[in-house]
Subunit: 399 residues, 2 copies
């Protein structure tokens, strides 16, 4: 039997998805699972946009342009004005979700052996896509105690070496829910310019900032050829399954390179693009309501977590995640146990163990990521489960 | 300004898509273009399936399983019985078009520096995806004169070296329209087993075989752990824009590896998967009609091409392409000229220059790929254009 590739063998399983078989078994035994493990919003996709899909789906589902539908690229460019970002439709390349935006950006910017600096904890799949391209990640560890704030410029500069090619951020942050402030980003721009690096920023959660205004790195005009923004409709419009994302950059050489990768896979999903375009037609009302919902959950989650003995948490100010340290030794084991051996009034919860969000998994051993993608009542019940679960698990371990 | 990657720079533009800007300009000047350049069928997507999308699109377009919807995987496994292929739903992994099936297969099976043998001319994007993975293609040249038939087993065996990992075929063939016979494939199976290679076969055109029955390599039970089939709804159901494809393999290790790559990009397009599943519900009537249409076009195209002086062509027995040698020096220049400087009664034609389908582009210098994706009347008109164009171009060059 022929052997599979070493790179396939070495690739890690998704830290978010690997518990899925245990969850399926739990459901079979009649347990109800409250899902806090995955960034799948329970929010409705804009109804008008879903209706537009029904109206506009064509009788031949044909290929479209590799860079995405021009009408969608125009719509997205217009939408960015809301954030004082001035871009042309040509600066937007439509991708199959932000996932493909990550893949194309990495392959277009970096060669095998190049290094990119990423504050950790970071979105786990950055690691997998970098692995595909032979790109090395140099993490800078940020901590819960400091609210996962942007590391100092010195900290970045200290680890820049000759093959460092970029600083890669997720802002607002998954899994941390942090928002980087404008001043820190401006400082970073100077560093990026000084060392001629790319600045790649995953901004898919930009609409969910609860305390301060969001600043896109696309407004940093002095480094406009360095900046690449990754975006998606998945979270903003609760359209994860449509698989529509974007790469936004003003760097023409880079656009040229990305387009060649885009041509290879012919085009992004056409029905999803109909949905995407319609999503932007009436954002204000929809997004105000959605943001308010997430905010209530954020406050509730923090209130409940703060009251559980031994739990260390902080108040995230953006996105819909909280990174939490639990009073246990191994979050992965605990998360498994919650699915296999525990229930609270017929319910259990599914959490994402945080090891997968760290370059060095040991750093996340006691942490979990909680996605607040359930309404306040369910979140309350989920916290009852967590509280009861921690108590039972701790007693069990003490025996 | 930071430099883009060398691998991005070295990637070729799509030989099918690079003429698009010239075509847009031609349309602006009022010319009508008959598109024979791209495998975009003019056939309707099954109407029932399009209606199912309208009925079934959900109010939250949520993530689905990374491996694809289980109901779709079951449907596809059932459909394969038509070709005497017996597989389980677990053997089918849903991808974002066959494009992603190629990417995941290459990365899951091969490491940088590994070699794969592919008869040329071949689908151009195999080259681009191999380039992404640092995988070397060893071509075996097949010729129009011999109907692009499968090279002899000796020819394959002669170029197998220590890092040869697979034989990669497209059957039925794009760009050639050839169908490999069952006997040759069985011989190949022995070679694959002897040298412990993977046998990867892109079978996306399997439904369009006009003379002999199609044999899937999935029926070669003695090498079932070596075989990987790439598939898609794009051509069979005229659903190119839905971006739904499949990898089919019984190799469990490989399934495991592919699933990890699939997890990285979360899931394939969910609305496209609704369409895909519905497409299989009533294939017989739809496919009989579609195949008959393509067959009429195939015969018409051959009849017309055979009558043009200096044109060398052959009768393809599958898919919807014909590779044609033209009595000119440089097909790429001729294809450009057709768009920029020529019209026949207000029409011109767009063809795919064949250089991009060869590892050594010089081999395809005089050839073009013609996709018969227009009805017989338009195909007739397109051949009038080609005939007039060749005459005018030849006279121009003779001056």
């Amino acid at each position: 039997m022929p052997k599979i590739s070493k790179r396939g063998e070495a690739l890690s399983e998704s830290p978010i998805r690997f518990l899925a078989p245990l969850a399926r078994n739990a459901v079979k035994t009649g347990k109800k699972i409250l899902h806090l493990n995955i960034g799948q919003p329970d929010i409705l996709t804009p109804t008008n946009a879903v209706n537009q899909v029904k109206d506009q789906v064509s009788e031949i589902i044909a290929y479209g342009p590799s860079e995405g539908k021009m009408s969608l690229r125009k719509t997205v460019a217009d939408y960015y004005q809301k954030f004082d970002v001035s871009i042309e439709p040509e600066d937007v390349i439509v991708t199959t979700g932000a996932s493909e935006a990550i893949l194309f950006t990495l392959f277009s910017c970096f060669d095998s052996g190049d290094e990119i600096i990423i504050p950790e904890p970071f979105y786990a799949n950055y690691l997998g896509f970098s692995h595909m391209g032979g790109i090395r990640i140099r993490p800078i560890t940020t901590t819960l105690e400091e609210g996962f704030k942007l590391p100092s410029i010195d900290t970045f500069e200290r680890i820049i070496v000759s093959n460092t090619r970029a600083i890669f951020l997720c802002n607002p942050g998954n899994p941390t829910g942090q928002l980087y402030d404008a001043e820190s980003l401006k400082q970073l721009a100077k560093l990026v310019k000084k060392h001629d690096l790319f600045l790649v920023v995953d901004e898919v959660y930009r609409e969910f900032c609860y305390e301060e205004a969001f600043m896109s790195v696309l407004t940093l005009s002095e480094i406009e050829e360095h900046v690449i923004v990754l975006d998606s409709i998945s979270k903003v419009f609760s359209s994860c399954g449509a698989r529509v994302g974007y790469i936004v950059t003003k760097n023409k050489d880079l656009q040229g390179s990305i387009k060649k990768f885009a041509q290879l896979r012919l085009c992004p999903p056409m029905i999803g693009q109909i949905l995407a375009e319609a999503c932007y037609s009436d954002t204000a009302d929809y997004l105000t309501k959605v943001k308010e919902k997430y905010n209530q959950r954020r406050l509730k989650l923090y209130e409940r977590l703060s009251a559980i003995e031994g739990v260390k948490c902080y108040m995230p100010n953006a996105a819909f995640y909280n990174m939490v340290e639990l009073p246990i030794d191994d979050a992965q084991e605990f998360c498994k146990w919650l699915l296999t051996d525990f229930d609270y009034k017929g319910y259990t919860i599914m959490l994402a163990p945080a090891s997968g969000f760290y370059f060095n998994p040991a750093l996340g051993r006691k942490q979990v990521r909680i996605a607040f993608v359930l309404d306040v009542e369910k979140l309350d019940l989920a916290m009852d489960c967590l509280e009861a679960g921690l108590k039972e698990y701790t007693e069990l371990k003490a025996v």
